[in-house]
Symmetry: C2
Subunit: 300 residues, 2 copies
């Protein structure tokens, strides 16, 4: 599975602690989450200041980092904080640094990767990645409000080329200019994707396909330490599970959404990748089982 | 089943239309919703200006209105509007009128009602109702932020006396001064109720009991016309189903939450009670089935 996106050094403050210059970025969270299900190839860019141990750590998780370019300059940095409403990130500073001129150039060995996850980056770069992969079995893209308002046409063109479109519920409403999620999802499906997956933070996720609708709750967390990367870990777990099973039926897409939710629910229990670093496959299986137990109800 | 709460004339504006001086109030929405499952007895107060046809309409739904007091003066009036974020009601005016001096006085025939729903009113009045009912089989109370900040001790005393506590998720966090819903729910359970049901608007509902957690999604609505009364219709459907089945097991509480969600999802499709007036039992059964279909997923 291929993951393309940002690699960052994050400085985060939450009501439950703080972390300085820790490993972050959408591609990192997604790749780490996916690595529980499938081998991952990563494409991104870091500066010469990027600590070597971070790359080694990713490699230990069976993540191929030969597509991570090291450029003269500083690594992308993000700093921000969360207040008690953990759904809302407050950005203090974004320094794109070497990420500003990121032009994804896939190693030749990556070009036949069957499963492709385009994390949230400029849709023109997402399109450039799609140009470089040969007949992928499944393509999934994430996006955000910044591109919806700033590069709308390029984004619509990418949505027309992917199998699964991922975004926040508010972003789907914004993209389609309607308060109705059902109508928004239908319009996105009309662009081409076979599934639209809407991320709703602590409220879970929803999926719309031509055949129906799936609603997954959020996992009720006892202790959230840092929500950073939750959406990316969700996406990584989702695509990783699809790569592992190679089954894109509605039924299996549902399971993939729960797998993504499970990994994301662990990710927020600590800063950076700390929780995923301790996570075991057994814990994933057990929490998946809890998801089933907590959503089950009988006939009327 | 007994329902105690406000009876109002509402004036509402939403992005999808407006309604002037229409039948509303928590007790009305709850009673109407519950009437699909069980006969209802209603306690409330209206002014001499209250249109007679409203009472006749409620009676047509098998709602006993002999506990509705008609007082010299004006009926409680609420006016407000919603913008595109339909989760957020903006109040323009609240005129309590005769509701200001509401002192629920149960007709003698009501005192042995086995199922009691205390809609959102002053917790001192909720306690006064509990004093008047004889060994009820199940008591359920709703509340709101106004009482959490203004009559905290009285509210805690009511929570200690009911079987099921109902409130919004934000209100549970406020009541227990914690961002964690899990911790908030646990603290409320510690007060006495066997179940805490948290309403999350379009995001559905969650239930916490000593044995576990249940998460119900919101129904993805094609067309919401007016969210007024959704939480009350949810409560009415929930308690109505429990009254109908007389089974308070965790499994049946889950089904009751879905029944509440189903009726609430219909209620918001039109203003006032317009949609419930057209609602058929078959539609309830069919949407319940859709809830099952949209939350179902297989083992990993």
């Amino acid at each position: 599975m291929l993951v393309v996106g940002s690699i960052a050094l994050d400085s985060v403050q939450t009501p439950f602690g703080a972390a300085q210059e820790v490993l972050g970025g959408a591609a990192v969270f997604a790749a780490a989450a996916a690595s529980f299900f499938a081998p991952v190839r990563m494409v991104g860019v870091v500066g010469t200041d990027f600590p070597r141990e971070h790359l080694r750590r990713l490699q230990q998780w069976d993540i191929d980092v030969s597509g991570v370019e090291v450029r003269e300059g500083q690594t992308f940095r993000w700093s921000g904080y969360y207040e008690y409403d953990l759904n809302q990130a407050h950005t203090v500073a974004t320094h794109l640094n070497v990420f500003e001129d990121f032009r994804p150039d896939l190693p030749r060995t990556y070009c036949c990767t069957p499963y492709v996850f385009l994390a949230n980056i400029d849709p023109e770069l997402q399109a450039a990645v799609l140009d470089q992969v040969e007949t992928p079995r499944l393509t999934v893209c994430d996006t955000m409000n910044f591109w919806i308002s700033g590069k709308r046409d390029a984004l619509l063109a990418v949505l027309a080329r992917v199998d699964v479109a991922l975004m926040n519920d508010a972003e789907a409403r914004q993209l389609c200019d309607t308060p109705s999620l059902v109508q928004a999802a239908r319009r996105i499906l009309d662009l081409g994707p076979r599934a639209v997956v809407l991320k709703k933070g602590e409220h879970g996720a929803a999926m719309f396909t031509r055949d129906g609708h799936f609603a997954a709750p959020g996992y009720p967390l006892e202790q959230i330490k840092d929500p950073t990367g939750a959406g990316d870990a969700f996406a990584g777990g989702l695509v990783g599970y699809l790569a592992y099973t190679d089954d894109f039926s509605d039924d299996n897409l549902r399971k993939a959404i729960i797998c993504g939710s499970v990994v994301a629910s662990f990710n927020v229990e600590d800063f950076s990748l700390e929780r995923l670093a301790r996570l075991t496959p057994n814990e994933i299986v057990e929490r998946y089982r809890q998801f089933r137990a907590m959503t089950d109800f009988g006939s009327m």
